[in-house]
């Protein structure tokens, strides 16, 4: 029980973030909505990385490997926007 307790809290936090995603998508528009939604998504991903994927207990190499996935995603977004912004 001791161990599952923080995990439950994280789960509650994730559900709250999910609710805020839904609320934000219904009430906000334009670039502002995009920024808010991406921030929420980032927070969700960070919680999952840190707690559910146990990265807070891991060594540097494992953290680096996990971050690499984020780095690769950054490449995708970078070059995609290069096309969109200058098209």
């Amino acid at each position: 029980m001791k161990l599952s307790h923080p995990l439950l809290l994280v789960w509650v936090a994730l559900m709250l973030l999910l609710v805020s995603t839904v609320v934000a998508s219904q009430n906000l528009t334009g670039p502002f909505s995009l920024a808010v939604n991406l921030t929420i998504a980032f927070a969700k991903a960070a919680l999952i990385y840190w707690f559910y994927m146990h990265l807070r207990q891991e060594s540097g190499l494992a953290r680096l490997a996990a971050l690499a996935a984020g780095g690769w995603l950054a490449i995708l977004f970078l070059f995609l926007s290069l096309d969109y912004v200058t098209r």
Binding site: A69, F79, L80, Y84, V85, T86
Partner: protein, 556 residues
């Protein structure tokens, strides 16, 4: 190794003459259990490799049958054999099966599975059960794909471009996407398994600088498998979401962007073309060193270029979209980066050449396959550079020039390397030697048949023959006939290795530990290896490829 220097059977085998089984074989992994379930439930990486070998060979011939239909249909300008729909379906089957069920798994999942633990001095992969699970997922995905493609019919090509796939295509696009999605998990699990194995299970003394180059290339491939495949999965899910639920992702009418699909698809698929060719580059390094009997020239550069290819390969995908409406500034950047990715590939080719220079070369089948790999890969790579030039690509995009380009790399390159690997490691896997004469003959015929099939396609494309059409102006017929005749020759030549290798299983002489006199831990164990590979875990104390160099005389 020449014919006369064929390894003699180990003396312990002589008493077995006339028997179909040698002493080594009796205790090998091949005989560790005879029942079907001992194969289908095995967690031995060597047996799983054999399961993959059988599976990819099966898919290779299915894909080949579709290719034969395509080539026969193209014999006449009217496309008499197939209907329009039938032709579209045939090239979709061909592309989907060959890419996902032959080229991607071929070398990593058979030879990678078999050799990685042997080469790094381990008893198995890090996750043997995951390895078996990966084979089952692969088979489930493969057979389901085959069923959907044949029973349902998909006409989008292997690229599933929107809006064709999301709005117009007939047939079972969503089911096909699900099938490929499933197979993707097999790639991810295998890649993960290799990465962990190479990090954690190297034997004492096997430092990163002492790793065989094949291991380096499989490592680089695994990184791509793990990072890129999920993007393919997501993309396929998005297509299904748009088709089934009308979510506006790619359809402009719903606020989507059709080019987004191509971005996502090629963000996976250009790296995926390196998934197909990097393992082949690793095979070539091994075969070249073994044939030249010299240490690989510039080992660190050859190893590092695999990693460089894996990384830069992620930055070039836009070269598939030069004429698709992509911003010209983005195109310019992608064009530059595409030229840059040729540099590490070039490094490898130069270093192999330097390795062969003055080497004591033996013209064995593996070497002949390696040579045709290097030559054809070079032609494919150089024509890639041509396509990467913006102004030229406007003219040859979506023509047979592109078809020829990627077949030189994927078929001329990867398939040749696959056969090279099969011929080189077969005595290790099965424990028997095969006929070198037949091996040489098939290597030469494959090279000739390949060029007769695909060289005319460069000319066709240059003259303006578009790809994926089966009705064409009569003046193109002659070149198409050449290509079809070449394909016939190639088909026969591809069957030959399976015939003489199969024959060798029964009638070949026992191979001994090291029939090619090569370096590497895999040659220090019996052929076929015992179930747990090594009696005692080996200790490595020197660099790889330490051959006693015998230089050819300089006849200058």
């Amino acid at each position: 190794m020449t014919d006369t220097a064929l390894p003699q059977p180990e003396s312990s085998n002589f008493q077995n003459e006339g028997l179909s089984e040698t002493g080594t074989e009796r205790v090998s992994y091949l005989r560790a259990g005879h029942s079907l379930s001992s194969w289908l439930l095995t967690t031995d990486h060597k047996r799983i490799a054999i399961l993959y070998l059988i599976a990819v060979t099966f898919f290779f011939f299915i894909g080949g049958t579709a290719a034969a239909l395509i080539r026969l249909d193209l014999l006449t300008p009217q496309g008499d054999l197939l209907t329009n729909e039938g032709y579209n379906r045939a090239f979709t089957i061909h592309g989907v099966i060959m890419v996902w069920f032959f080229l991607i798994p071929s070398i990593p999942n058979t030879f990678g599975n078999f050799l990685i633990p042997l080469m790094i001095g381990a008893k198995d992969l890090a996750f043997p059960k995951l390895n078996l699970a990966s084979w089952y997922i692969f088979m489930a995905g493969g057979l389901f794909t085959l069923f959907v493609l044949i029973a349902g019919g998909v006409d989008t090509g292997w690229t599933f471009y929107t809006p064709l796939s999301s709005m117009f295509a007939h047939g079972s696009v969503v089911l096909a996407a699900v099938a490929v999605f499933i197979a993707g998990f097999s790639s991810i699990l295998t890649g993960l398994n290799f990465i962990v194995t190479i990090h954690k299970l190297r034997c004492p003394g096997m430092t990163w600088r002492r790793l065989p180059l094949f291991v380096w290339s499989i490592y680089a491939t695994s990184i791509i498998l793990v990072l890129a495949t999920p993007v393919l999965a997501i993309t396929l899910v998005l297509i299904a979401a748009e088709r089934l639920f009308g979510l506006g992702i790619f359809d402009p009418a719903l606020g989507g962007d059709p080019l987004l699909y191509q971005h996502l698809f090629w963000f996976y698929s250009h790296p995926a073309v390196y998934i197909m060719v990097l393992p082949a580059l690793g095979v070539a390094s091994e075969l070249v060193a073994a044939a030249a009997r010299k240490p690989i020239f510039g080992y660190q550069f050859v190893a590092g270029s695999s990693i460089a290819i894996a990384i830069i390969g992620f930055l070039v995908w836009g070269h598939h979209m030069f004429v698709a409406g992509q911003s010209m500034y983005a195109s310019a950047v992608f064009s530059f980066l595409s030229l840059a990715v040729a540099v590490p590939s070039g490094i490898k080719v130069y270093n192999w050449t330097a390795t062969l220079y003055k080497g004591h070369i033996s013209l064995d089948p593996p070497f002949l396959f390696a040579m045709s790999f290097i030559g054809l890969f070079t032609v494919g790579g150089l024509t890639g550079l041509i396509l990467a030039m913006l102004a030229i690509d406007v003219h040859v995009h979506d023509t047979y020039f592109v078809v020829a380009h990627f077949h030189y790399i994927m078929v001329g390159g990867t398939v040749s390397a696959f056969f090279g690997a099969l011929n080189y490691w077969w005595p290790k896997m099965i424990g028997r030697t095969y006929s070198l004469v037949w091996g040489r003959l098939s290597a030469i015929l494959i090279f000739l048949g390949f060029n007769l099939t695909f060289f005319p396609q460069f000319l066709l494309g240059y003259l303006g023959m578009p790809r994926r059409y089966h009705v064409y102006p009569p003046e193109f017929q002659l070149l198409h006939v050449f290509s079809t005749v070449g394909a016939g020759l190639l088909g026969v030549a591809y069957v030959m290795p399976f015939a003489y290798l199969y024959y060798s299983m029964r009638y070949g002489t026992p191979a001994g530990f090291n029939p090619w006199g090569a370096t590497g831990l895999e040659w220090t164990v019996p052929s076929p290896p015992p179930k747990h590979n090594f009696e005692t875990i080996p200790v490595v104390d020197s660099l790889p490829y330490q051959y006693d160099v015998e230089l050819e005389e300089d006849h200058g």
